[in-house]
């Protein structure tokens, strides 16, 4: 394989991985946008989604799509419950308290998860068979097609919800300025709840897709991708939905290129290095606006 060929192949892999980061990052960025919380438990929500998808396919014997939808719905509800029980009581507490709570929730999900499903990794059944497409000499496998298709559909759906529905308008208003939105009649509790539902179900979709793509899941699988997705959200400009998508894809591509051309051990370091560079050059992220405090 010549260099160019390998480059394109790595790009395809990168975009697949990046799509998954993007789906997780969307939830991160939506939640941050609305309650200014780095929801460290988001990666574990994604893990729960992966397991629900796994049990849907194995224990319940469902085809992948229904399993995905059920996982998204249940995980969405879990996200809402977490918000209600753990974050809502702290709505007016200092930011650090909510952050520590999020770390607590994260540990809780990881280790209760471990308690129920054991720490041993599970092998996700091969739901796509051995399909693969040869486009002008580049291999795109069935899993990648599934990832692209699901990601595009979900993003289109999310765009529709945010841009066109009443809920979406309320979400945008609330993330712009929660208090003013409340004065204008937005039920912020409900909006926050729905944000957690949507964000969590997107993470669940990412979890199931990762299971399909990498074939293996475990209770601590959410830690690194969760962190990376947050990096992606910051990269794109936190609180900005298209930013999360672009950030996710960039991150995925960079990781694939570093893994393919340098060494896979530097994959994670590259992601963080890019993050720090972006923050130093443009602290508000690629798509963010710089704001300064009025004195």
């Amino acid at each position: 394989m010549d260099f160019f060929h390998q480059l394109i192949q790595q790009l395809i892999n990168g975009v697949s991985l990046g799509s998954i980061y993007a789906l997780i990052a969307l939830g991160y960025t939506m939640i941050y946008g609305i309650i200014k919380l780095i929801n460290f438990a988001h990666g574990d929500i994604y893990m729960v989604g992966a397991y629900l998808g796994f049990f849907g396919v194995t224990a319940a014997g469902l085809p992948i799509l229904p399993a995905l939808l059920i996982s998204m719905f249940v995980t969405g509800c879990l996200g809402m419950v977490v918000e209600k029980l753990a974050y809502k009581p702290l709505r007016h507490a200092p930011r650090i308290s909510i952050l520590i709570t999020a770390i607590g929730v994260s540990f809780f999900l990881e280790y209760t998860g471990m308690y129920f499903v054991t720490p041993t990794p599970r092998t996700f059944p091969d739901v796509m068979g051995n399909i693969s497409f040869d486009v002008a000499g580049f291999i795109i496998n069935g899993q990648q097609v599934l990832i692209f298709a699901i990601t595009i559909i979900l993003m289109a759906l999310l765009t529709y919800i945010v841009q066109k529905t009443k809920l979406g308008k309320a979400m945008r208003a609330a993330s712009f300025d929660t208090e003013t939105a409340q004065l204008m009649g937005v039920d912020s509790d409900k909006v926050i709840s729905m944000t957690f539902f949507i964000g969590s179900s997107l993470a669940a979709a990412a979890g199931v897709l990762v299971g399909v793509y990498y074939n293996t899941i475990d209770p601590l699988m959410g830690i690194m991708p969760g962190l990376k997705a947050f990096v992606a959200a910051v990269l794109g400009g936190i609180g900005i939905l298209p930013g999360a998508v672009v950030g996710g894809i960039i991150l995925g591509v960079i990781e694939a290129l570093v893994a393919g051309f340098l060494s896979s051990t530097f994959r994670d370091a590259a992601a963080f290095a890019i993050l720090i560079l972006v923050l130093l050059v443009k602290p508000s992220g690629l798509f963010g606006k710089n704001t300064n405090e009025k004195v």
């Binding site: 770390i103 607590g104 540990f107 051990t265 290095a273 004195v295």
Partner: protein, 319 residues
Amino acid sequence: MNSIRKRDLAMLIFGLILYGAIQGMISEKIIGSFWQLNIILICVNVIMAVSLNLINGYTGQFSLGHAGFMAVGAYVGVVATVNFQLPLIAALILGALCAGALGFLIGLPTLRLRGDYLAIATLGLGEIIRIVIMNIEYVGGAAGFKGIPHLTNFTWVFFTMLFTLFFIKNFVNSSHGRACIAIRENEIAAEAMGVNTTKYKVMAFTIGAAFAGIAGGLFAHQFYLISPNSFTFLSSFNYLIMVVLGGMGSITGSIAGAFVVTFISAALASFPEARMIIYALALILLMFYRPQGLFGYMEVTNFAPIKKLLDKISGNKGV
């Protein structure tokens, strides 16, 4: 101001008595090797927590990369003792210098960032440090560094901890420390009162990193092997939790936080599954019912009976 000196002396004597008591119990084998290890870990964690508190609690800068500096101190330390046959004290000092220098280099550009952005950047830097170490074959790479001499003992960690506590206490109770606290309280006002905010942020970060380096050196020489996996961002979270649990901006709090966290995880060591779940729930409940941590901004010396006792010892007629 002789009374301050006398109070310091009183606390030092208290420290020595505590040392004598514990060392006695160790020599008499009243404290077994399991708890001896945990007492050593508590002291190391106190150093970590109190130095992180200087950055997060006193200066109000949200750092999540403390484990990275600990890693630098640990690896520099073991290279010094194993590859260069230097004594432990030299290893600790070298570790502190390297971690501090790195903290300075990283802090200078990074501390322009605020709040969550700083948090995620420092988290990323901590991870980068770890991954870089993982890729250095000279120190064993991902497999870790083997064959470390067991040089750490209770005496070493206790007196290093005592030194750290006095250093940080004296720092925060001075014009330099007040400058840091002013930054936490209101950065714009601090600058308007003549505080070079960049300088003091970087200073707090550098001092914090240097002490994390010392803690790393002590930690490393307790074990035969250290690996980069001992220094992930999850351990940084753990130190943050100690600080928040005890109270951001309280040295007493950091001691208590380090003690409680280490003690609980040791006590629950025989129930590994339940341990983390209980820990998680405890954390959430604590944030619900006591978000300011056990001590808030208070020090143990602020509490009325102890204050009275100390005043009596130091002959301070109140102010």
